[in-house]
Amino acid sequence: IAGITQAPTSQILAAGRRMTLRCTQDMRHNAMYWYRQDLGLGLRLIHYSNTAGTTGKGEVPDGYSVSRANTDDFPLTLASAVPSQTSVYFCASSTGTGDGYTFGSGTRLTVV
């Protein structure tokens, strides 16, 4: 089934540790995005990539980095996790022309 796969589904992480959230899509979408959603709030854009080889900063990029080595994969790295990064992280992709995003199922991250 075509779509977006995120891993892990959930993770408890000690503060100060490094963590990479994985995101893979099989729809050959040009654009990919990372959002975080805190309890009871809307989604906030962390980083995005319009096409392989390019990335850009969203609303809340600090403490996160991304790479886009190929079309399918868009990993999100927390270099040194802090408790304020406890959140649900959603990866999404689109053709880049705005005709709807496809979201993954999310990664629930708890930093303690």
Binding site: A31, G42, L43, G56, T97, G98, T102
Partner: protein
Amino acid sequence: LAKTTQPISMDSYEGQEVNITCSHNNIATNDYITWYQQFPSQGPRFIIQGYKTKVTNEVASLFIPADRKSSTLSLPRVSLSDTAVYYCLVGDTVDSSYKLIFGSGTRLLVRP
């Protein structure tokens, strides 16, 4: 990117029609209006998108007045399973850096 304003929450009953209005006073000429639905513990799901007048699909209708400064998502005959958060977003689909910025959404509760 244009900001949107929508009610924080709405209540309805099964079988009723629900209309959720969103204001986007600063919408730009190239911006499209897109609505998403999000259930708990899931990523948002694309519902409908439009530019002007009326758009209808199997799930909902979207009404956009001539000045495009607001839009109304109409859900016919809602059921309990329509309980979710609904997000209104605007964005430029021809912009190479197109990215959706989410607001807080409208929390719809459908009662028996």
